[in-house]
Amino acid sequence: MMKTQSNPLAGRRATWALLLVSMLAGLLLWEGVVRSSQLPAFILPAPGQVWARFLSALGDGSLGRHIWVTLQEVVLGLVSGSLFAAALGYLLARSPRLERMLAPYVVASQSVPIVAIAPLLIIWFGPGLFSKVLICALIVFFPVLINTVVGLQAVPQDLHDLMRSLRASRWQTFRLLELPAAMPVFLGGLRIGATLSVIGAVVGELVGADRGLGFLINLGRGGYDTALVFVAVFTLIALALTLYGLVLLLEARLLWWQRKSQTSEG
């Protein structure tokens, strides 16, 4: 019994150790390629050079400013996109007729790559914060919408019948049944949305911006400062991972009942 209790923790430690080993291996490989190929730093900078560039960009405060800009776009886009998607998803799940009417538009909007319409949005709404938030929101919209609809449609009919027989109000049914029942699937959509939102922000900044991590990539490329491009890319990865982790934390908080029942069955 003691053994099974300590296992999850040991397993987690082993996972971290493996992660660390694979990252070290990656860095070593990278360093090896740089040394053996003797490529110039503007083609492939060594890990040490990227680290130094990271420290300098951090030191003069420029990196922090760009991170802040991108972070705002990503978070505002994610939040507004998910809110709109959840609201529309709720309406679509409630009304099959509305779903049939709107489904072609929703699907059509998804078949146009965001890269293709980003320039239009920048032209219409300028190179400022708003157009980037809009791009993020658009890219987040679809997966959250779909998962909201799927999550709500999966609520068991018997529980709906129970709520009806107990004469629950529309609001009570939403708050006590639909919201918690659809939450696991909805959060799955939010998880996808969180990483997509980062992509949306970078696309918007690459197309037209004078700040943000996407702009930093453009800046590094223009000035043959490839180490800076690496710094920006790694920062973006870290940003996406952090957001993803935050959604996972949210899941752990809201879906405690799923984890508890799993461990009890094990």
């Binding site: 068991p156 018997d158 529980l159 129970l162 107990l166 006590l176 009942w257 029942s261 069955e265």
Partner: protein
């Protein structure tokens, strides 16, 4: 015990027809019956005979195509107050604890939640207040469902094959448990089942439905003494009643 006073529930010429485009599927055909206050009524029928549909109509979840239901003198239009519903599967909310599942009806009605603790005790689940449904066995989950249905002290308890998904031993235990609860709460029970023996064991009266469209084939009074004990299943009277019900079910239309 049934009495000659005004019936608690009255179904008059109840008919339900499902429509799917041009297709018409008659499910219930002019059913009329009444249930006395405190009576334990079993509705017995083969699978797909419309038993569940009938229960949904009685509970106001499904409107009748023709005819109607009166509960306590009031015409049923939509789910009336004072009806407790128990489904074939416990139908609990997996994110609510046992206690929270039982108190759901009280919470919805804005009533005091303390009655939930008494119900928890009544169904013998003390110590499981904070368990989640996924941590319960099938029988325990169904106890929670029964407690939830009883927590507002309903006039009538509608049960749709409540023990259908339980194993035979748990099932017998739950039948005894239900009879014990029924004798202390004095609620009226309408229980749908396809199990002849269960119907005889539980009921004051059994209605046998014909295959779809369902009409009443037999209205049989079960005059076995109470409290019932599982050993009664092996008495000649029990067997005779069961045989009568079987004959009614199997008779050609």
């Amino acid at each position: 015990m049934p009495s000659l006073t005004k019936p608690l529930l009255q179904a008059s010429q109840l008919a339900v027809t499902f429509r799917d485009g041009r297709l018409e599927l008659p499910v219930l055909d002019e059913l009329s019956f009444s249930v006395q206050r405190g009576e334990f009524l079993c509705i017995l029928g083969p699978s797909g005979s419309g038993k569940s549909t009938l229960l949904r109509v009685l509970g106001g979840l499904l409107p009748a195509s023709r005819g109607g239901v009166h509960l306590g003198g009031q015409a049923v239009q939509g789910p009336p107050p004072g009806v407790g519903l128990v489904f074939q599967h416990a139908n609990l909310m997996p994110w609510r604890t046992v206690q929270q599942n039982i108190s759901l009806p009280l919470e919805l009605a804005g009533e005091d939640l303390t009655a939930a603790s008494q119900m928890l005790e009544l169904v013998g689940l003390q110590g499981f207040e904070d368990s989640l449904p996924s941590q319960l066995s099938g029988g325990m989950a169904q106890r929670v469902a029964i407690a939830r249905a009883l927590v507002q002290d309903p006039q009538v308890l509608l049960m749709d094959e409540p023990f259908g998904s339980l194993d035979a031993i748990t099932r017998e235990r739950m039948e005894d448990e239900l009879l014990r609860i029924w004798s202390t709460q004095r609620t009226t029970v309408i229980l749908v089942t396809h199990d002849i023996s269960e119907a005889v064991y539980l009921a004051d009266r059994v209605l046998v439905l014909s295959p779809r469209p369902a009409s009443i084939r037999l209205d049989l009074r079960v005059s076995l003494p109470r409290p019932r004990r599982q050993a009664q299943r092996y008495t000649p009277q029990f067997g005779a009643l069961a045989a009568q019900l079987r004959a009614a079910i199997e008779s050609p239309a």
